[in-house]
Symmetry: C2
Subunit: 264 residues, 2 copies
């Protein structure tokens, strides 16, 4: 018999960075991924609309009997996590708290946060970081062009570098020593950001931190299914073609079969 | 009594360029605009999903008793126009045919078309142009970053110029004398494109051409309501804040009240 799976959802393809890290740390667990590609992006939409979409996405996964829900989308984590926890009787892990915890490694307590408009406007990263490091100075900037640049395959293009320089001047000026990549697409811009901030600024990848949090929870709550077989399932709400193509860059591997479903 | 209105819909805010041109040519007509901002963009989504969204948007306007439907979205015009014409008993005007007609002014019959992935992949512009000028050479390029650049307010920024240069090299090389701006956002990049192509290339703005087509149809079919009062109504599917803010740049004026509705 197959063990219960971990359910992971995102507005689209970006959450595959989280999926990849979870799969690396827990290779024998079954994983189900849902990308809401018919309604992507969430980052420029309103709190209410993102909450509705997140509930519908979570419902799809819960109906498939997952034992744990990972909200791989920063925007949905920022505005819908409490609602999901209230609604569903299973552990729900978002990407904000794990990223915020890692950011506390900052030595000068000057921390930058970048993300979508929705994530930055929510103020959830500063809130989560301040709860852990009350005297941290936090500098938040929305970078709406980073997602389309990453999806265009231009994450390391000169235009991405110039765009990043334009957005991130205030963070350079603020002399941050830690930068939270508060969007699942941004790890693709890692080299571009490293080029701008140099070797000394810690780049926090929420995907890695979230996967570690999932692993810790599994240890603590005894949620592991070591005999599950490591099945992977991918679902999307629009036709899979584009997801399959762009998804490879995020997963660093071929996805296998992707199934289109209706939600909401 | 109020006369019947013209209904105009788009995936979001871009169709306001069409709205503006129609309002300029037919100032006394009543106009209803719907922007499907909860599901924007259409340009990167599949044919089937865009068809479903377009039918739902059109239905909303038809239910409000419009006498004419304008599909201001290039992607929806490219993939859903036939379906809309079959479904609804009223004139339906898209933006592709008017733009294609204008492109026939080309003297060297070397015509460029730029648009979203959905519009370019549909092949509808080349099809419509070739039907009018069978020996035209048509060069089509998708420019996915133009929409986010325009929405970021960077349409005339150096980064927009570099992005355009990157996308449009093949069109410069092809020595086109006519360029169809096949997306409602692109008129905002007019100056940037003019800088790249120089004064001699005709830039075809589908919005203007579509408005002229509406006006001609009104003349021909006697659809005018000269006493309607020029009422304007704006509806969106997500909360209006962002639409109101970004919309001003497209309309060149304040929008007044914008109402959120559910469709689909």
């Amino acid at each position: 018999m197959l063990g219960k799976a971990i359910g992971i959802f995102d507005s689209g393809v970006g959450g595959l960075t989280v999926f990849k890290e979870v799969a690396d740390l827990l290779p024998r667990e079954n994983l189900i991924y849902l990308g809401d590609t018919a309604r992507v992006p969430y980052g420029s939409k309103s709190v209410k609309t993102v909450q509705r979409y997140a509930l519908e996405a979570a419902e799809f996964l819960v109906d498939r009997g997952v034992k744990l829900l990972v909200v791989a989308c920063n925007t949905a984590s920022a505005v819908a996590l409490e609602q999901l926890r209230e609604r569903f009787q299973l552990p729900v892990i978002g990407v904000i708290e794990p990223g915020a915890r890692r950011a506390c490694a900052s030595r000068n307590r000057r921390i930058g946060v970048i993300g979508t408009e929705g994530t930055i406007n929510s103020g959830r990263y500063p809130q989560a970081i301040s709860a852990l490091v009350p005297d941290a100075r936090i500098f938040s900037i929305a970078c709406p062009l980073f997602v389309p640049l990453a999806e265009e395959g231009w994450a390391e293009h000169e235009i991405a570098r110039l765009t990043a320089l334009e957005y991130l001047q205030p963070l350079l000026k603020a002399q941050i020593d830690t930068l939270v990549l508060g969007c699942t697409h941004y790890p693709l811009l890692h080299n571009t950001l490293r080029g701008i901030f140099g070797a000394d600024v810690l780049l926090v990848d929420s995907a890695e931190e979230t996967a570690k949090t999932v692993q810790q929870l599994f240890c603590r709550q005894g949620l592991e299914n070591p005999d599950s077989g490591g099945r992977r399932e991918f679902y999307v709400t629009d036709v899979p073609t584009r997801f399959e193509r762009v998804g490879q860059a995020f997963l660093g591997a071929e996805l296998g079969r992707v199934v289109q479903v209706e939600i909401g």
